[in-house]
Symmetry: C2
Subunit: 454 residues, 2 copies
């Protein structure tokens, strides 16, 4: 094994100077989001109540590249560039001729890729004179990333945390406190949406979103911040893929397949979109593979429809694969993948056949994660464990074909706050909850009819 | 802030090829460890019951540098080289002309510096034909590092975990399970030492050590592994300081003071000893500052005496600053600093005036950690928070002197499994337990008289 490189490390100067905006490279005209009340296309003014104009401009920008503000780039330097690893021990364990690479985002202070956009959003809001950001969080990945980002730019951060997670997963809450954020158990007594649902025992992401949006809409000095799905969020994450392109060049290889897990889509977009652009522009062909849970199979079993971004139906409607906004995915530990829809840009590429999708059962994903941890050391979050399982399948296909295929997957975060799930898996007590096709069809039937688009 | 470097990143090829052995550079003859039964100097054969000969040879080696086996260096590549950061935001917050650097070891799979020696020890034991390593762990830092290392070299790992931590801190235990280790609640029914203490409600590190040593001594295929104190453990950690020397050279600076927290001493030794050697050999002068808790003030208030390494008195006696091996430090969250003695090499250098020591109260250390986290993002472990507080004091002294002094401290690990302590601190509910001078004097009075050394 002597002399073989395992880790490809860039220097600070190699942190990208621009984000890659895939919007102008996508085939066809992008479908506009629709206003939740009028069902007509929304304009920038509709969004300005809760977002700063600079982020709205990024959301609809026709520019192929958008310069990263120097203050954001300086903040990225706290943890970027992140390492790209060649998983040589994992390859040997799998007995595959494939070369397996992974881009690791767990070295960020919050432990995942989420700070890539949190920092950019906090900066733009601070520049716009906003004093406070409000958001929702489930298990706490996004809330902790935004709390960290707000601490860097002197913003207050108010997080509505789903009640059941607030009670059962106190450590992410403690992280947010450490960075100075205020964390409310949702439903709270602070908002109409909270008071209206005050008797709800566990809360839900839908209620928490409603509370955060309400706070942002009512207070002049407060905006709302979203951790996935939107174009500008996917945009900010493209630092991942740009670094990976440079690191694959150091390794003198090109991926044959790029793999990522998909919840709202920003992690996948961040790694894949810079590669996708090269392909769309006629570069070397490669495959793209989105890994999702069988419990929430948006891309593999959902319908391509206009739907709300949130459970309560307060946000604009977006064109995407969806299970229906009020479909409640069964509980799995990969909380970050329990989303009824997906980023419109990503869904468009799945529809166009550029990106493939596969769904995996929870127990199989944990088995893949444990195998990985015993070879490579790092303990993956439950979400990227789905990408690891997809990488194993691709590595096995390479062995069967007798080809030294190059596989790149995104390891979007560590599993330090998910260890009780590992224990349950190792003890044989983890369930594989069933997805209900009937529930999805019922949820889809509740979607509003939207006007035809010119 | 534009253009200023924050992070100094080496490449894989810059991982040191040798460990630095400070033993031959120390002034005077090293005092030998003494046999716990005869109180006479121990020879290699006495240690061979529980350690492989290659590690015993490292323990007493007269060589100034010892080559790192290629397989260990390959394992280091899973997370090394680790980053060196310039804490520019922290400097601004402290309003100091000082330049503050920190070397971060929390990117390892186990989240601290411990794997640097765990990997080396697992490798040497595997080479010696050993099938299983036994060890003790308190809160779980060392046990998880050894579990990870054993998974790399195909060894079984058996960890005796102090009962109270086993019950109250399940996540480190889950980490060990994930890497395939067996974890026993200590006292267990598996050993004489365990059965003799079967009624002990919480267990103790002393009992857990006795159980692990007993298992290693009784089984031919099993050895014991220790995570700090011993010369060969300090030796393995010197990869930290060697990388830091290269990274400070990239920054074109020399530290005026090198700071680390001290529990058993291996973290401090790892960062400081390569710098210390340069100073002992007539290089540029610099200060060395060891930070310890007021609850366990070994270096600042202990006696320089021969003492056992463990609470039960089973290990050889070593010359060191000690509070007495059966002195029980009051509970503080920095569990890794709750050790009655310190590495003999480190103690000798404190005695010789090469290394200074200061003790800090728990609440002050947490306040320093929160200030750091809100500037630099990373949430420090409670142990290195003591080093952060020492760095703050040094930065304030630099401001008072009006000098742009260069401060380097070791950030030995993250605090992801200590967040409940952060919450207690932020809620104002953290105690600063008192150190009892009388209890220490009583413990010291129980030490055996040792023969004079020629």
């Amino acid at each position: 094994m002597s002399g073989q490189t395992i880790k490809y490390l860039l220097q600070e100067r190699d942190i990208p100077t621009h984000w890659i905006n895939l919007l102008p490279d996508l085939p066809g005209e992008p479908l506009p989001p629709l206003h939740p009340g009028t069902l007509q296309p929304v304009g920038p003014d509709d969004l300005a109540v809760i977002f700063p104009m600079s982020l709205i401009a990024q959301e609809v920008s026709p520019e192929a590249e958008i310069e990263i503000p120097e203050s954001v780039r300086e903040a990225y330097k706290l943890w970027r560039p992140t390492p790209l690893h060649r998983a040589r021990r994992f390859e040997r364990e799998l007995d595959t001729p494939a070369h397996i690479y992974y881009k690791y985002e767990g070295t960020s202070p919050a432990g995942s890729h989420k700070p890539n956009t949190a920092v950019a959003q906090a900066y733009e809001n601070a520049q716009a004179g906003i004093r406070r950001l409000a958001t929702e969080t489930g298990a706490g990945q996004w809330g902790s990333a935004l709390a960290f980002a707000c601490s860097l730019f002197g913003l207050e951060c108010e997080v509505f945390m789903v009640g059941s997670s607030y009670d059962q997963k106190p450590y992410r809450r403690s992280m947010m406190h450490t960075w100075g954020a205020t964390v409310h158990r949702s439903p709270s007594e602070l908002t109409n949406a909270g008071r209206a649902n005050g008797s709800h025992p566990t809360g839900s992401l839908g209620i928490a979103i409603s509370e955060a949006v309400e706070v942002a809409a009512q207070r002049e000095d407060t905006n709302y911040s979203l951790g996935s799905v939107l174009n500008h969020v996917c945009l900010h994450q493209t630092v991942i893929g740009q670094e990976a392109i440079a690191q694959m060049a150091m390794a003198e290889e090109q991926p044959d397949v790029v793999i990522g897990c998909v919840g709202g889509g920003s992690n996948f977009a961040g790694l894949a979109f810079p590669f996708v652009r090269n392909v769309l522009r006629g570069g070397a062909r490669m495959r793209f593979l989105a890994a999702e849970p069988t419990a929430c199979p948006t891309l593999t079993r959902g319908a391509y429809r206009y739907d709300f971004g949130d459970t309560a139906g307060l946000t604009p409607l977006m064109p995407m694969y969806t299970l229906g906004h009020d479909f409640v995915p069964p509980p799995v530990h990969a909380g970050g993948l329990r989303y009824h829809g997906d980023a419109p840009m990503l869904c468009g590429l799945v529809r166009a056949g550029v990106i493939e999708a596969r769904a995996y059962a929870q127990n199989d994903a944990f088995a893949a994660a444990v195998k990985f941890a015993r070879c490579e050391g790092l303990i993956p979050g439950p979400e990227p464990s789905h990408a690891i399982l997809a990488a194993i399948e691709e590595a096995e296909a390479a062995r069967e074909a007798g080809e030294a295929r190059v596989i790149l997957f995104g390891l979007s975060g560590h599993g330090h706050f998910d260890l009780s799930a590992y224990d349950a898996f190792l003890a044989g007590g983890l369930e594989d909850p069933e997805f209900s096709e009937a529930d999805m069809q019922a949820a889809l039937a509740r979607l509003p009819e939207v006007p035809a688009i010119a």
